[in-house]
C-alpha cells in the first residue's frame, strides 16, 4: 500500500494539476488575512468553505491524474480496484489534513487575529476545515470517471453538488419542513452553524463534537457508496 501511495502521489505531483487549486488556496489565505485584526471563528469558517470547494478540485484531478489505460495497469498491479481507489482517497485526505493545518496555523503565526487564538479556537478551526475537506472529497469522488463516463459531467456534477451543499445551509428552514430530508443532504450547514459562535466561547459544547462526527460519518457513507458503485460497475 505504501508503494501505491508513493507512486500515486509522485505521479500527481508530476502532473502539476495541483498548481491551480493550491495557488488559489494560498491566495485566498493571504488576501483574507492581509488586513488585521480578523475575527477568529468567522475567518476560519470562510477559509473552511474555500477549502471545501478546492478539495473538490484536488479530488477530481487526483482521481484523473493517470490515463485511463495506465489506471487499468496500476489497478492490475495493485491487485484490486478497491486498493487503488483507497490509495487515492488516502492522498486526498492527507492533502485535506495538510491544508487544514496550514489554514489554522498560518493566521496564528502572522498574528492575523485581534486576540491570540486559544486551543479551543484552533481545534474548532481544524475540525471545521478537515470535516468539510473530507466531505468535499467524498461528494466529489462520486462524480469522478470511476462512476461518471463523461468528463464534462464530472466538473458540472462536482460544482453542482458543492454549491448545493452550501446553499442548503441558507435554505435550512424550508428543508426542515420535509421530515428526514435534512439527514440526507450534505451537512455543510452544521460546520457553518458551529463556526457562527462568538469568539468569546469558553468551551466546546458536546453537541459540537457529535455534529462534527456526523459530518465524518456522512462522508464515510458516501465513500462506502462510492466503493459499492465502483465494484458493481466492474461487473
Amino acid at each position: 500500500m505504501t508503494s501505491l501511495l508513493r507512486y500515486q502521489f509522485i505521479n500527481y505531483l508530476r502532473t502539476y494539476q495541483y498548481v491551480p487549486p493550491f495557488s488559489i488556496f494560498i491566495l485566498c489565505l493571504v488576501v483574507n488575512y492581509s488586513f488585521v485584526p480578523n475575527p477568529i471563528l468567522d475567518s476560519y469558517s470562510f477559509t473552511a468553505i474555500i477549502l471545501f470547494f478546492l478539495m473538490g478540485w484536488f479530488t477530481i484531478t487526483l482521481f484523473h491524474a493517470e490515463d485511463e489505460e495506465q489506471k487499468v495497469i496500476t489497478t492490475l498491479h495493485a491487485k484490486s480496484r478497491t486498493q487503488y481507489n483507497l490509495g487515492i482517497f488516502m492522498i486526498c485526505v492527507l492533502i485535506g489534513f495538510f491544508l487544514s493545518c496550514v489554514s489554522v496555523i498560518y493566521p496564528t503565526l502572522i498574528g492575523a487575529f485581534g486576540e491570540k487564538p486559544r486551543f479551543l479556537h484552533q481545534l474548532l478551526g481544524f475540525l471545521s476545515h478537515f470535516s468539510l475537506a473530507v466531505l468535499a472529497i467524498a461528494l466529489s469522488a462520486i462524480f469522478t470517471r470511476e462512476l461518471v463516463k463523461n468528463k464534462q459531467n464530472t466538473w458540472w456534477g462536482v460544482l453542482g453538488i458543492l454549491i448545493i451543499s452550501v446553499v442548503i445551509a441558507t435554505l435550512k428552514e424550508t428543508i426542515l419542513q420535509v421530515k428526514g430530508l435534512i439527514w440526507l443532504l450534505p451537512p455543510v450547514r452544521l460546520s457553518l452553524e458551529m463556526m457562527g459562535s462568538e469568539d468569546s466561547i469558553t468551551s466546546i459544547p458536546n453537541s459540537f463534537y457529535w455534529q462534527f462526527a456526523w459530518i465524518f460519518v456522512y462522508a464515510s457513507f458516501i465513500i462506502m457508496l462510492f466503493f459499492l458503485l465502483s465494484n458493481r460497475k466492474r461487473r
Partner: protein
C-alpha cells in the same frame, strides 16, 4: 502441451447486448493464441475477463497453477506517463510487492531483452509508440509472468516497429511465455501464432487449417496446343478457367496442391505445355482475411 488455464462457458452482456456466449478454450504453456474478429466482437472484453479486470456474467476461469501470474497490456498505450522507464517499472513492481533487489535484477534483464538500455533515463512520454509498447510489455513481465495478455500489440505501429515487436514476441515465445493476443496483422498471425480463435456471432471458434503449411496450394497458368492432351489432363486438375487463344492454343488456369506441383509440372512439360505462371496461394487465409 500443459494446460495452464481453462476458460469455461464464459458469457458476457454489455448494456443488454450479448457480447460473448459460452466462450470455452484452453491456454497451454508456451502457446500463442490469437483472438480475431470484427471490431466490437468482444475480443478486448474477453482479454479483460481473462486478466480479471472485468467479471463475466457466467462461466468460470480455471487456473491450473495456484500462483499463475498474468501480465496485461491494454489496446491503447498510455500517452502521459511522467516517469522514465526505469522509474516506471520500479513503481509498478513495488506496487506488485517486489523487493528493491528483485526489481533491480528484473529491470536490468528486461532492458537487455527489449534493447532499451539507452532510453533508460528518458521520460516515457517522449517515446515513440513502438518504444512505449515495449515498456508496456516490460511492465507486464515484471513478476515472472506466466501468461501475457496483449490487446492489439501491433496496432498503430509503423512497419519497422511492428517488425521489432514481432521479433520481441518471438523471443518471448522461445522463452516459454504463454501469450493471448488480439490482432489484425496477417504477418504476426502467420509467423507466431499457434492457435487462432475467431469470435463470430458472440461465439469463440477455433480457426483450424490456418497455418500456411496447412493450406498448400498453387495457382498455375499454362498453355497447351493439343486438345487430346488437354482432355487427358482435365480429370487430374482443378480447372478454374479455360480459354482458346488466337494462336489456337488453350490457356488453362488451375489450382494444384503444393505437394503435387512438381509432378504436374513435369507431366505438363513432357506433354509440350508452356508454363506461363506459377503462384503460391493461401486460399483459406485469403478468405479468412477478406472476412475480417
Amino acid at each position: 502441451m500443459k494446460t495452464i488455464m481453462e476458460i469455461q462457458d464464459i458469457s458476457k452482456q454489455y448494456r443488454g447486448k450479448k457480447i460473448l456466449e459460452n466462450a470455452t478454450f484452453s491456454i497451454c504453456a508456451n502457446q500463442i493464441i490469437a483472438l480475431v474478429g470484427k471490431n466490437g466482437s468482444g475480443k478486448s472484453t474477453l482479454l479483460k475477463i481473462i486478466a480479471e479486470l472485468v467479471d463475466a456474467d457466467s462461466g468460470s476461469i480455471v487456473k491450473h497453477r495456484q500462483s499463475l501470474k498474468i501480465g496485461y497490456v491494454p489496446e491503447v498505450t498510455p500517452s502521459h506517463i511522467l516517469f522514465t522507464p526505469e522509474e516506471y517499472l520500479f513503481h509498478m513492481g513495488s506496487i506488485r510487492g517486489m523487493t528493491k533487489k528483485q526489481l533491480q535484477l528484473k529491470i536490468n534483464e528486461l532492458f537487455e531483452l527489449f534493447h532499451l538500455q539507452e532510453a533508460r533515463n528518458i521520460r516515457i512520454a517522449n517515446f515513440s509508440k513502438g518504444m512505449k509498447q515495449k515498456v508496456m510489455i516490460m511492465q507486464a513481465m515484471l513478476e515472472d509472468t506466466d501468461l501475457l495478455i496483449l490487446d492489439e500489440p501491433l496496432s498503430g505501429l509503423d512497419p519497422k516497429a511492428q517488425s521489432d515487436l514481432e521479433e520481441t514476441l518471438s523471443i518471448l515465445k522461445d522463452k516459454g511465455f504463454s501469450i493471448v493476443l488480439t490482432c489484425h496483422e496477417t504477418k504476426l498471425l502467420q509467423h507466431l501464432v499457434d492457435t487462432v480463435l475467431v469470435i463470430q456471432n458472440n461465439k469463440v471458434v477455433q480457426a483450424d487449417s490456418f497455418h500456411k503449411n496447412e493450406i498448400p496450394k498453387n495457382k498455375l497458368i499454362f498453355e497447351i496446343s493439343n486438345d487430346e492432351l488437354l482432355d487427358n489432363l482435365l480429370p487430374f486438375l482443378e480447372i478454374q478457367h479455360q480459354s482458346l487463344l488466337n494462336n489456337g492454343c488453350h490457356e488453362v488456369i488451375t489450382i494444384i496442391k503444393t505437394e503435387d506441383t512438381d509432378q504436374v509440372l513435369l507431366d505438363l512439360l513432357q506433354k509440350k505445355a508452356s508454363i506461363r505462371q506459377l503462384t503460391p496461394i493461401n486460399q483459406k487465409e485469403e478468405q479468412f482475411y477478406t472476412h475480417f
